[in-house]
Amino acid sequence: MPFIPHSESDVRDMLAAIGSRSIEDLFDEIPASLRMGKLSGVPEGLIEQDIARLMMQRAEADGRPLCFMGAGSYDHHIPAAVWEITTRGEFYSAYTPYQAEASQGTLQLIYEYQTMMAALTGLDVSNASLYDGASGLAEAVLMAVRANRKSKSRRILVPTTVHPHYRQTTHTIVNNQQIELVELPYCPQGGNTLAEALKQYEGEDIAALVIQHPNFFGILEEVDMLTDWAHAQGALVIGVANPVSMALLKPPGAWGANGADIACGDGQPLGVPMMGGGPYFGYMCCKQEFVRQMPGRIVGRTIDRDDRVGYTLTLQAREQHIRRSKATSNICTNQGLLVTAATIHMSLLGAEGLKRVAQACHANTRKLVAALTVSECVKPLFNRPYFHEAALRFSLPLDNVLRPLHAQNILPGYALAQEYPELGDTLLVCATEMRSDADIALYADHLGRVIKTQTAAGCPVKPKMA
């Protein structure tokens, strides 16, 4: 049975009403040379039973490794109620609730979400979400260029301690809009962005400075110094932060004397499982004065003519369905379903619960670092305070360590050389509240054994003769 709402006769009637012979005729305007025709490489359809079997096989191929990898996506406990409620019929749509009179529940939920995110980031307003953290940063950069009317440079300072994928996505999106992204180096000892790295830009016209805190290495940045420096230059500050970290650390709205102007990041740690890289959702908050430059949907609370509280999309005049090419952004949607999950997740945990998650993650990562650095061959890469995630340096080839750990069904961490070749044999590790002491001990034991095998004198691993 096809799950398509129009029957053949519906389609015939509609075509007759507009005087077209076939659906194909409706695409006449598109020149034949631009049409794809049949897609090559797309196999024939499968029946439900076969597709279920195929998906099961693919899922099993991933295994269920013991996860010590973070690097932007985190393995948190999600209370069973979160997705049970999220997938109820009343909520089960990602679509924007344009029709306020038919969508009060969804609108109220988004309003509650915005309230929670504004409280978490310490800023005045939140939008209804963006696609993910990486595109969220790109939107924040575009927004900062619009909002900073004193700056004419379209230049953005981006420390290399910002998530590499976020930087790449931002580059892709803003590259052709005459926006210049200037990368700032990190301190090789501390893994943070130093005042010295900013010196050469002092007095120059900068639209915004991006600060990720904790940064990609898990290191705490000197957010007060960086924020105040940027504001003194007339630059706006875009804070990128893991939402869980904000339950414990100073949130972007409280950085420096005046706070970051825009905060963004990935909402995945708030109730979204690590599912093949997505879908996740991006959050974005800002100071009230910049709200008209904020992309995406915003839900507001109002009263109707009988003084009853109601919720509706607001500030839509700046959006593309009204303003066309002059809209603040061509983002015209949000990740509604994932925001639903995040809102329920945050409601169940509460502010105190989220803080405890943050504390447990940090405590576990500290235990993990202590357990792994028992070996002389493993040392912390940086000497500054970290949160939730830490970089380790190995004094033996990392590949030889990772392979046997993978074989033990352990996901040992993120090899930093993929994005930072200068860092060589280094690994970014993370232990969330999901990892028990026994899990950490298991990783440490296996690592200890692997290192012993690799370094035992007179016992080098030699290739077998063919």
């Binding site: 009317r149 004193k150 008209r292 005049a317 700046r318 009204i322 303003r323 002059k326």
Partner: protein, 131 residues
Amino acid sequence: MSNIPVELKYAKSHEWARVNDDGSVTVGISDTAQDQLGDMVFVEVPEVGQTVTAAEACAVVESVKAASDVYAPVSGEIVEVNEDLADSPETVNNDAYGEGWIFRMEPSAAGELEALMDADAYEAFLAAESH
């Protein structure tokens, strides 16, 4: 019938321009424009000191229906902006030609003012536009 003061000049994009005694030019949007846009909710004024060329978008009036650019009727430098509109954008609706002014500029190119329409021409332009 629309309110079109005879002492003002008008642009096709519905701005009005008043030449002040000191040679500066005050700019706002016409009564017809505010009427079509409806209740104003926000006015984004330009920066003082900003130089603009004629027909360049330099302010935004946002109503409950739409956000529209306001274009500089002539080239020059912005010398004053109406800060009061931040708190009371509805002034543009209530007094489009008076307290609802948006910015004042020092024109840099003589002749551009003459290219704008007078009240009669603007009225004819509106009549033609509505057909």
